[in-house]
């Protein structure tokens, strides 16, 4: 198997809260029984396992967590007979479609709102969801927090009394009842997320897949930090995107994430104008 024939799939392991990269040979699909390929990844310290169910387009359709992993050879990908797919969506009060519908009247607007909220939460800008019924607000909050794993501190539910009379300019405040922004805060580019969420709406396991996409961003962010920490000169943004396995248009987001953590990485990244021109053709 050549390197170029291998497909890379990322899965997010809830146990170690890390992205796990699986390199699967293209011909492995020929060995699947039924519609999905089940792949076990044993990783981490102490070793633990996660089973991913992957379709023919190499998309992750489901994840299982065995209660015990006793590897003889750690870090070996093995095939196991197909088990039941754990459908994550029914276990959530709101799947992706439910979350989008709870945010706006029209799904298209809901996608834009969710994208805007996610970008702000990822870049550690405070996000307030306003609802006078705490239980309703908590449902939406849990759905958003579930997508963003450890971004717990920056998304909170408040009621209208708590926001009345306050200066909301710097914060992102969204009224879940009126389904509109009370304050958007500083402008951010959420186009990529709008496209990503829009492409997942209506698909199976959309919530899990969106969470997977977001976890890739966090993985790429960690990679970008490592690359820039070791760099002795400025790095082209096209090169950084390639090394961090992320779309070029997300590099500004990664740099914003670093800013919000107090890391000055922007001066280390140089915009590659000609590279962008070549990519735009």
């Amino acid at each position: 198997m050549s390197q170029s024939d291998a497909k890379e799939v990322f899965i997010f392991c809830d146990s170690c809260k890390q992205n796990v990269r699986l390199k699967l040979p293209a011909e492995i699909l020929d060995k699947r029984v039924g519609g999905l390929l089940s792949v076990v990844s044993v990783h981490g310290t102490p070793p633990h396992a996660v089973v991913a169910y992957i379709d023919e387009q190499f998309r992750v359709r489901g994840i299982e967590y065995p209660q015990a992993a006793l590897p003889e050879e750690p870090q070996v990908i093995q095939e196991v007979s197909e088990g039941a797919v754990k459908d994550l969506e029914p276990h959530l009060e709101l799947g992706l479609t439910g979350l989008i519908n709870s945010l706006a009247e029209k799904p298209k607007d809901g996608v834009k709102v969710l994208a805007a909220l996610m970008v702000r939460a990822i870049t550690k800008r405070p996000v307030f969801l306003v609802h006078d019924d705490p239980s309703e607000g908590e449902i939406a909050l849990r759905a958003v927090q579930g997508l963003l794993s450890d971004q717990l501190l920056f998304v909170t539910v408040v009621n209208h009394t708590q926001v009345r009379g306050r200066n909301l300019e710097s914060a992102c405040v969204y009224d879940l009842q009126a389904k509109r922004f009370m304050s958007e805060g500083p402008k951010v580019d959420s186009k990529y997320f709008e496209q990503t969420i829009g492409s997942l709406v209506g698909q199976e396991n959309a919530y899990s897949r969106l969470r997977n996409e977001l976890s890739k961003i966090f993985y790429s962010y960690d990679r970008a930090k490592q690359i820039l920490a070791q760099a002795t000169a400025t790095v082209m943004d096209t090169h950084l995107a390639s090394e961090a396995s992320i779309d070029l248009m997300l590099i500004p987001l990664l740099l914003e994430m670093a800013e919000s953590e107090g890391l000055k990485l922007k001066p280390k990244v140089q915009q590659d104008g000609l590279g962008r021109a070549i990519r735009s053709i």
């Binding site: 082209m236 096209t238 390639s242 104008g273 000609l274 590279g275 962008r276 021109a277 070549i278 053709i281």
Partner: protein, 194 residues
């Protein structure tokens, strides 16, 4: 800008095609020959500007930025100058090639008008080649590096092919060279990343 380049290229090919419907050295033949010459700067200048502008933004605040601005201004001046000169110049017949196509030259108050217009267009085309070479040299992603190389060599071959028309003897090679260059350009544009 790149779309403008592609449309201009397609139009240029279309005008060449339309020349075939007219008798050699007829009014229609001459008009469409002039139109193809008008299209040369319309093709080359947008491509040069398309590549120069993002490079200008990258180099903003440096001395290189002034050089790039001059290059962009030069491309636009050549665009306007060439279109004007082609429009106002007289046309004189030079030769008919083995494929049955007439070749002409431009004459005006400026000496060697035709060679001047061609030389200016070639200089603008070579600006694009330089930018593509810079892009190819520093690109680390092999897919985009190959794209830059395909576009660079394709464009260089097309420019060379056009220069062959200046010689009645070498003009016979023009279609082969142009098509080779075009194929490289097409492959460079249409290849998709897996």
């Amino acid at each position: 800008m790149f779309t403008m380049f592609m449309v201009a290229y397609a139009l240029d090919a279309f005008f060449f095609f339309l020349r075939g419907f007219y008798a050699l050295e007829s009014v229609g033949d001459i008009i469409f020959w002039k139109l193809t010459n008008v299209m040369y700067p319309i093709m080359t200048a947008p491509l040069a500007v398309f590549l120069a502008y993002p490079y200008l933004k990258e180099k903003a605040g440096t001395a290189t930025a002034w050089g790039i601005r001059l290059v962009m201004l030069y491309s636009l001046v050549v665009l306007v100058f060439n279109i004007t000169l082609v429009a106002i110049s007289d046309v004189s017949w030079t030769y008919n090639d083995l494929y049955g196509m007439s070749h002409f030259s431009l004459e005006s108050f400026i000496p060697h008008t035709y060679y001047l217009t061609l030389g200016l267009v070639i200089s603008v085309a070579l600006i694009s080649v330089v930018f593509l070479a810079i892009a190819a040299r520093r690109e680390t992603d092999s897919f985009y590096k190959n794209r830059a190389l395909l576009l660079m060599f394709g464009w260089l071959i097309v420019v060379l092919g056009q220069m062959l028309l200046l010689s009645p003897v070498l003009a016979i090679l023009n279609p082969f060279v142009i098509i080779t260059g075009m194929l490289l350009l097409v492959v460079g544009v249409l290849r998709t990343k897996k």
